[in-house]
Each structure stands twice: as structure tokens, then as C-alpha cells.
């Protein structure tokens, strides 16, 4: 049997092997430092009394070292006056960086795939709705500008949920909290005084 067949077959296989082997130089000793990646650590809500522009208060949930690690360092109680309406603005921050990074514009940009939901445990004291201009392209609420209507005095709680729904976000109606993955879920105690 001619040697050239041997040789060419062996060469062919070796060439395929060498050609298809990826370069696998792995830099094991220098891993990514995940602290350098952006992460949501804090939610800040600013409430302005509609009938009194100077009545502005800010409440915050903050866990600056991110998921796990130390427990959250700040978890405010939302204090409101009964029978008043407040315009809210939500800010999402990454406080693991110095200075802190404001992530809210990124959520605004992806309004078609995100929605904030406000769940009050006792609607006799408080209801939360969306501002008329607080909508995505399809007219479904985004929820960065909630409207708080404090009714009766008492203690209740408010759960703020940010859902990432991507392409599954409804294209009409008021949204559906059951769809998608939760990016934020924070509960604030609420105290309404006379």
C-alpha cells in the first residue's frame, strides 16, 4: 500500500484536530471582580404633596453591598398625612460604587420591558396609582411616577415590585405582575397620621 495514502490520511486527521482546537489560554489567576459590575442596591422614593409643594420627603431602602453579604443598612418607614395626595418619583441606585450610579435612566430606556407594581396591604388607608404620563410606548404603565393617595390614619405596608418582562410585557391594559422576573421587591412600612 502506497505510503502517501497513510501519510495523507494521518495529516488530514491531524489538521482537523489542530484546526478545530480553540486556543484555551485561560487567565485563571486574574478573575473578574464582580464588585465592578453594576448592580441595583437601593430604591429611593421621593413624595411631593400636591397641595403643598414644600412638603417633600424621601424614603429609601439600601443594601450597598448588594445581594447577600451584610443585611440592608437602611429601610425607612414611609410617613404620610391622611387625606393628602402625593406625586412620587422613583430612583434606582447602585450605591456599591463611589460615587453612586443612577440606574433609573436605563430602566426608562427599557420601558417596554419593565413595570413597577405597588401593592398596599390595606387600601382603606392608602392607594397607589400611576401618573397619566407614566407609560411605555404602548400605553402600559411603567411606574416610575406613582401617585399616592393617603386616606385614613393607621399603619400598613407597601410592597414595590419591579418586574422585568422583556418581550412578554403586555401591549395593552394596566400590566400583569405575574409575568417575568423580579428585579426589585421591597416592602416599606407605612404610617399615616392625621
Amino acid at each position: 500500500m502506497p505510503m502517501h495514502i497513510y501519510r495523507s490520511l494521518i495529516m488530514l486527521v491531524l489538521m482537523i484536530v489542530i484546526w478545530s482546537c480553540k486556543k484555551d489560554k485561560l487567565d485563571v489567576e486574574h478573575p473578574d471582580n464582580n464588585n465592578e459590575q453594576e448592580t441595583m442596591t437601593s430604591l429611593q422614593i421621593t413624595l411631593t404633596n400636591v397641595s403643598n409643594n414644600t412638603d417633600v420627603s424621601t424614603f429609601k431602602f439600601s443594601d450597598p453591598d448588594g445581594m447577600g453579604g451584610n443585611p440592608p443598612v437602611q429601610s425607612d418607614t414611609i410617613k404620610l398625612k391622611a387625606n393628602q395626595i402625593y406625586n412620587g418619583t422613583i430612583k434606582i441606585l447602585d450605591e456599591s460604587k463611589n460615587p453612586p450610579v443612577d440606574i433609573t435612566p436605563e430602566i426608562e430606556r427599557e420601558a417596554d420591558g419593565h413595570q413597577f407594581f405597588y401593592t398596599v396591604s390595606d387600601s382603606f388607608m392608602l392607594t397607589v396609582g400611576y401618573a397619566p404620563d407614566d407609560k411605555d410606548r404602548y400605553g402600559v404603565p411603567l411606574g416610575l411616577k406613582p401617585i399616592f393617595e393617603a386616606k385614613n390614619a393607621g399603619v400598613t405596608s407597601l410592597k414595590i415590585t419591579l418586574k422585568h418582562q422583556g418581550k412578554n410585557k403586555p401591549r395593552s391594559g394596566d400590566g400583569n405582575i405575574s409575568i417575568g422576573a423580579t428585579d426589585i421587591e421591597v416592602s416599606f412600612p407605612v404610617r399615616i397620621i392625621q
Binding site: 495514502i5 490520511l9 486527521v13 480553540k22 485561560l26 486574574h30 430604591l43 440606574i103 420591558g113 428585579d183
Partner: protein, 773 residues
């Protein structure tokens, strides 16, 4: 009848001949007065085989080997002959011989691998005495599984089940253990990828294999550390070793997810001692459907290829092998949840919130995985002493996981990329039979590097491990004894950031494992064996360093740097009965594992901006896995065969006095096969109907799971098969319907059972053809 059927249903007419030596007599003669002689031996035991039929093309007289395995024939002409040797219970051998002189040619025959999976009763064959309980899938059983993943393929064996992540990701579970605890030897090389993850399926192409063996129980001595649950061995078809070309082509289509699978393999031998093989396969599937809805984003796109070259110069055997596996697997979009509230909402709803139609498109979330294996092996037979074997291999695994969204970046990069490169080397020596002793010694070494990019899951690491082992078998008449010992050493260094400081801790582990077994043939038909083997597994970096939310599991997982290796002691009692009418195998086993690593709940839950997460920490307990596997086949009437399989398991945590979660529930399966009469056009047709009953998992500790174990379920499946001869080649045709009644059910071992039902009815057509020229 059974004997003939047994023979023909072992479809694997693989031309496989292992030449031990070929000598040429110096007497140079012409004309038709040459002779051909030699000895036929058993490839496993080395013993001479009497009664082997040797047929030579063009010569009517059949030659039968004598008591000492010797054969001799005269009146051979000086030309090329096709010589075929056949023997009940052995794979037939066919070889092209160029006869120019008085020729001495020795044949080595190998036991047929069509063991219990062929659908008929076999006559009691001379079988190799098996020590450790094992099961083999080959022949028709493998043809019937073409197009399925490795996990689904082995799940048909008693004692083997599958841990699922939706309809696309399957991990084999052997006697209740899975993941790193079940070693996969892919073409003789220990598969090294990211096996620790429950959603990481083994990256192999089952189309490449002609035989899959599952060894149950701890087997660290033979196969190395981590093998405390069992070992899965996958073997490609042996390379042809005579001049010519042969191959195999397969096609399969599945109605449920619109899957099309195709594979082709070609062997070409320009000369007897050199063979080239090229093989490739494709699988493309769209969304799966349950009886009532379509599962969004559950498609699969897979492309694999391999090439191999074998060369047998004189007493050497050299093989080069290279394969590449590439897959894109869609993850059911309804399963990508953010926190516990999402999970509870999904469980509370009977159907998923995300609806979809059928499509082949795969969107986020998905996995993109490439696995490469290159291997070179060299075997040299040393006169009268034994065989020396060297195997070197390199593996490279690149796993990219794309989350349902990358909410903080607009890039299209994977949120998590894990790359691992592995180099393995093995040197072993098998000595030939000497005074009833057979055995082998060897050393193994493995070097690994792992690097991640993106969200933290497991740290970077480097590791180096080495092992040395020796096993010896003694066989006399009906008794076989076996013993072995092994020493392992492993060094590991991890690299990760903690509070902006680079950490690089080192770990070393070492262990001695052993095994012993005894088997006795009580009669020709009944064999019993008792084996005991130990195994150990070093904690994986994921268990040492995890710290974060496990994706889709809504759980916060915390590693433990102080974990010790797991030590297992597996004892099995097995009985095998093979009569003309009835065949059966029963295995009782007990696997005790010290320092069994598992996630135990920790309180309080971890509070984060994404809500509260139930928290789990890697903990070590003493656990045991006790169970029984049964297999039985009975020819109930002429042409009718009944067969049954059953597995039960009790997995217990002795430290906390509780049952272990995520272990397979009891199951049993019954089938009836009707072997239809043959016609000229249709060979070996049969009809089979089977019913599988999976019981509900009981005794789970309270609050160990988010949702209760699903109810028991029945599944009805049927298969019709036949061979259709077309111009000397047989086309194998299988038509299967799974879940005939289109039942909606959820399986306890499906991690996505919280979100969805299992797929519904599935019509499958498979075509397969072997060719040889």
C-alpha cells in the same frame, strides 16, 4: 426459535476483528494447495474457543474449531478471501485475507453486547462473569433511542433515572446519585465540563456510540475519584480493520417538538491496518408541547462531528480521535424568575403565564455550549506478558449562559461564561492470564484550569490530581474473585475576589479506595455475586465557594470552605438467571456515604433588594442509599414476550433522621412484545406496548420543597419495528408513540415541574441503515 431470534435481533452486524498476530509460513507455493490455520480465542478471558464456525467465501465446507480452539483447512488458492467466523454469544467477525502462502491467522472474538435489551429471550449464552452490577444499551435498544440525549437514553435501564431541567436538559441519575457523583467516560476519557450544575447536561453526541454501559455503585478504584454513584461508559463502534468502506446513517423525527435528527458515519480502510472515520450529527428541535399548551423557548439546535484514525502496525494499536459538540439550548422562559414571590405565583397557577406558539427560534434565556475532545491512545502487546496502554487527552468546554435579560447592559454577551480546559493522561498495563490471575495496574493524572466571566457563580481554579491503582482477578472453574486498591491525591487552588481583595486559597485532598468481589456460577443458568467498593469525591469549588442566588431556583446558596471529601461504601448483592424461557437480574444495594454534601436550609432568609430568599448552605451529613433494581424477561407464549423493570430506593439522611429530597421515586415498567412472522420483504418485525408507572415520592421532610411532590402517573408507549432489506443493506425502521393517552403529568425529578407539565404525546419515526462494501 429463541436462539435464532436472539441472534438476528442483535442487529449489530459489526465487522469486528481483533488480530492478535498474523504469521506467514516461509514455504512459498502457488496454486490451490495452500492452507489456512489458526486459533480462535475469547477476547475477554483469552481462552481458546471450540465450536466456532469459520466460513470461507467460495469454499462450501464449514470449518469448526477443535477443543483447543485450533482450526486448519487445505485447498486454498492464492487470492483474497472473505473469512467469517461466527459463534453463539459472540459478535461475528469478517475479515478479508490475502492468501499468498500457507497462512496462520488467529481470531479473537468478543462477547456480543446485545445483552438484555434485545426484545427477545436469549438462550443461556456463555457470558463473562460480571462482578459489579451493570447494564448495557446496544443493538436494537440503542437504535430505538436515536435522537435522544444521553440522559434520556440511559434512563430506560433499571436503577437509572434522569434529573431534568425542562424538556431539553437531562442528567443521568444512577441509584439515586447524579452530577459529579456519576462519572461519564466518554470514549474512554473522563468527561470534564461543568457537571456540578443540575441544569448542565453531559455534552456528548449519543449518535457516536454503539454501546453504552452503566456501572452502578461506587467504583473509584477502576475509574478514579468522584465515581461514588456509578460510571457511564460510552463506546463508539470499533473501527473496521479490513480493507473496505462501511458506515451507518440515521434519521429521526419527533412530532411533539418538531425535532429532526440526522447522523452519518463512514469508515474507510485503504489497507487492513489503517482506518479513517468521519462522523457527524445534527439535531434541531422547536418548542415542546404539553397536552394543553406550548412551552415557550424550549428549542434545541445541536451540531456535532468527530473524526478518528486507527492504525495497527504489528503488535501496536494507535488511535487518534477528535470530536466537537456544539449546542444551543433554549430554557423555558416561564422558569426565569426573580425571587420567591415569582416562584410562588408560578406554582399557584396550573398553567404558565407565558404562552407561546410553535417556533424553532431560540430566544433568551438559553445556553450555548461547546465541548471539544482530542485523544490519542497507543497500545502495545508485549509478548506473553500483556498489553501496555497510554492515553492522552485534552478537553475544552465553553459554556455560556444567557439570562432572560441583561437589565444593566445592552450588550449581547453571555451573563455567565465558564471555560474549563482539562488534560488527562493514563498509563496502564494489563497482564495476560497467568495461573488463573488477570489484572492491571496503572497511573492517571489530570490537570485542570477553570475561568469565568460575568456574574459570579464559581471561582476560577486550577487543579492537579493523580492516582495509582492495581486490580487483580482470580478465576477458577465457577468461582471468580476480584480485589483492587487505589490511592488518589488532589491539589486545588481557587481565585476570586472578596471585598475587592483577591483571594487564592489552596486545598489538598488524598484518599485510599478499595474494592473486592466474589462471583459464583451455581449452575449454568444461575450466577450470584457480592461486591463491595469504595469511592470518594472531593468537594467541588461550587460547594466550597458558592455565594449567590441560584438562577431560576429562587434560593440563596452559600458554600462552605471546610467541606471534607465524601466517602462512599457500596455493597451489592446480585443474582442473574438465564434459562431458555426466563431471564432475570436482581440487584440489591446499599451505598453508605460519609460526609455526603447537600444543601440544607438556613434561617433567616436572606433579605435583598430583590426580596427575601430562602437560604441554603452546603452541609455534610451521613447518608445512605438503599434499594433494589429488577429486570425480567419471560417468553410467555410462542412469539410473545413479557418483560418488566422495577426500581425502588430509600435515600436517608442519618444525621438529621430524615429522607433525602430529589431522589427518584419508585417506578416499574411492563411491556409485552409480539414477534410477528417474517415475510420476504420484512425481517424481524415486532410490536411492543409498554406501560410505565411512576409512584408519588413519599416521606419527604416538611417544608423541604416549595411545592409538594407531584402525583403518581402512568404512561403508555408503543413501538412497531422491522427491518427492510434493500439491495443487501437492511434498513431498520422504528415507529414509536410515547405518552399515547396524551396525559398531563409532572415528574418529581423535573426541576421545572413548578412551572410546567411534561410534554404530551409524541410520534417518532426512526430510520437507520448500516452499509458495508
Amino acid at each position: 426459535m429463541p436462539k435464532i431470534l436472539a441472534y438476528i435481533l442483535c442487529f449489530q452486524f459489526i465487522v469486528y476483528c481483533n488480530m492478535s498476530n498474523a504469521q506467514v509460513d516461509s514455504t512459498h507455493t502457488h496454486g490451490c494447495n495452500l492452507s489456512l490455520s489458526g486459533i480462535v480465542t475469547d477476547g475477554e478471558s483469552g481462552k481458546a474457543l471450540p465450536g466456532v464456525i469459520i466460513s470461507i467465501e467460495g469454499i462450501e465446507k464449514k470449518i469448526i474449531t477443535e477443543k483447543n480452539g485450533h482450526f486448519h483447512t487445505k485447498g486454498i488458492c492464492g487470492r483474497v478471501y472473505k473469512v467469517r467466523c461466527t459463534h453463539a454469544g459472540y459478535k461475528p467477525i469478517e475479515v478479508s485475507l490475502t492468501v499468498q502462502h500457507h497462512t496462520v491467522w488467529n481470531f479473537v472474538m468478543h462477547a456480543d453486547t446485545c445483552e438484555q435489551e434485545s426484545v427477545i429471550i436469549k438462550t443461556p449464552l456463555r457470558r463473562e462473569i460480571i462482578l459489579q452490577p451493570k447494564n448495557i444499551i446496544a443493538g436494537d435498544a440503542l437504535l430505538r433511542s436515536r435522537g435522544l440525549s444521553l440522559g434520556e437514553t440511559v434512563a430506560q435501564l433499571p436503577g437509572v433515572s434522569v434529573l431534568q431541567t425542562g424538556p431539553t436538559i437531562f442528567k443521568p441519575v444512577v441509584q439515586g446519585l447524579y452530577g459529579q457523583r456519576v462519572l461519564l467516560l466518554n470514549n474512554g476519557i473522563r468527561q470534564e465540563s461543568q457537571q456540578w450544575g443540575a441544569e448542565h447536561a453531559p455534552e456528548t453526541d449519543p449518535f457516536l456510540y454503539s454501546k453504552i454501559t452503566v456501572i452502578k455503585g461506587a467504583s473509584s478504584v477502576r475509574y478514579g475519584s468522584d465515581a461514588i454513584g456509578g460510571v457511564i461508559l460510552t463506546d463508539p463502534k470499533p473501527m473496521r480493520d479490513s480493507v473496505g468502506m462501511s458506515g451507518e446513517a440515521s434519521l429521526a423525527t419527533f412530532s411533539n417538538n418538531g425535532m429532526a435528527a440526522a447522523s452519518a458515519m463512514i469508515d474507510y480502510s485503504p489497507i487492513n491496518t489503517l482506518t479513517l472515520r468521519l462522523q457527524g450529527s445534527l439535531r434541531k428541535a422547536g418548542n415542546s408541547a404539553t397536552p394543553h399548551y406550548v412551552l415557550d423557548n424550549t428549542g434545541l439546535h445541536e451540531k456535532n462531528y468527530s473524526c478518528a484514525l486507527s492504525w495497527f502496525p504489528k503488535k501496536n494499536k494507535v488511535e487518534i480521535f477528535h470530536s466537537k459538540f456544539h449546542t444551543k439550548v433554549g430554557i423555558f422562559s416561564g422558569s426565569h424568575i426573580g425571587n420567591l414571590s415569582d416562584l410562588q405565583r408560578a406554582i399557584a397557577s396550573d398553567t404558565p403565564f407565558v404562552r407561546s406558539g410553535f417556533t424553532y427560534n431560540i430566544d433568551r434565556p438559553y445556553q450555548l455550549i461547546t465541548h471539544e475532545l482530542s485523544k490519542i491512545s497507543w497500545q502495545r502487546n508485549i509478548k506473553r506478558a500483556g498489553a501496555l496502554r497510554i492515553i492522552l487527552a485534552r478537553q475544552y468546554n465553553d459554556r455560556r449562559e444567557y439570562d432572560s435579560h441583561s437589565y444593566l447592559s445592552n450588550s449581547n454577551d453571555a451573563e455567565l461564561q465558564l471555560r474549563i480546559s482539562t488534560y488527562t493522561g493514563q498509563l496502564s498495563f494489563d497482564h495476560f492470564l497467568y495461573k488463573n490471575f488477570r489484572g492491571s495496574i496503572g497511573i492517571q493524572a489530570i490537570q485542570q484550569a477553570n475561568a469565568y466571566r460575568g456574574r459570579f457563580f464559581i471561582p476560577n481554579f486550577k487543579s492537579l490530581a493523580a492516582g495509582i491503582f492495581a486490580t487483580e482477578q482470580w478465576q477458577h472453574n465457577h468461582l471468580l474473585l476480584e480485589a483492587g486498591i487505589r490511592y488518589d491525591y488532589k491539589w486545588l487552588q481557587a481565585f476570586y475576589y472578596e471585598n475587592n481583595y483577591l483571594q487564592h486559597p489552596q486545598f489538598t485532598f488524598q484518599n485510599i479506595s478499595g474494592m473486592a468481589g466474589v462471583a459464583y456460577e451455581l449452575t449454568d443458568q444461575l450466577k450470584v455475586s457480592v461486591t463491595t467498593g469504595s469511592g470518594f469525591r472531593t468537594p467541588h469549588v461550587s460547594e466550597l465557594f458558592s455565594n449567590g442566588v441560584h438562577h431560576g431556583a429562587a434560593a440563596y446558596e452559600i458554600g462552605n470552605k471546610n467541606l471534607k471529601p465524601e466517602n462512599a461504601l457500596h455493597t451489592a448483592l446480585a443474582a442473574q438467571l438465564y434459562t431458555k424461557k426466563l431471564s432475570s437480574e436482581v440487584t440489591l444495594y446499599h451505598n453508605h456515604i460519609d460526609h455526603y454534601i447537600y444543601l440544607s436550609p438556613r434561617f433567616p432568609a436572606t433579605l435583598t433588594i430583590r426580596g427575601a430568599f430562602p437560604t441554603f448552605e452546603y452541609t455534610q451529613v451521613n447518608a445512605s442509599f438503599t434499594g433494589a433494581d429488577l429486570w425480567l424477561q419471560d417468553s410467555i407464549a410462542k412469539r410473545w414476550v413479557y418483560s418488566a423493570k422495577a426500581s425502588v430506593l430509600r435515600a436517608y439522611n442519618h444525621t438529621d433522621d430524615a429522607h433525602l429530597i430529589l431522589t427518584p421515586p419508585a417506578r416499574h415498567e411492563h411491556s409485552v412484545t409480539f414477534l410477528m412472522p417474517e415475510t420476504k420483504k420484512i425481517k424481524h418485525p415486532y410490536l411492543q406496548i409498554s406501560i410505565t408507572h411512576v409512584l408519588k415520592k413519599y416521606n419527604l421532610p416538611d417544608s423541604s420543597d416549595y411545592a409538594p411532590a407531584p402525583d403518581a402517573y402512568y404512561l403508555l408507549n408503543a413501538t412497531a419495528a422491522m427491518q427492510w432489506p434493500v439491495s443487501k443493506h437492511n434498513i431498520n425502521i422504528h415507529f414509536t408513540v410515547n405518552n399515547i393517552l396524551n396525559r398531563a403529568y409532572r415528574d418529581y425529578l423535573d426541576r421545572f415541574r413548578y412551572y410546567m407539565h411534561a410534554p404530551g404525546r409524541n410520534f417518532i419515526i426512526r430510520l437507520n441503515v448500516f452499509f458495508n462494501s
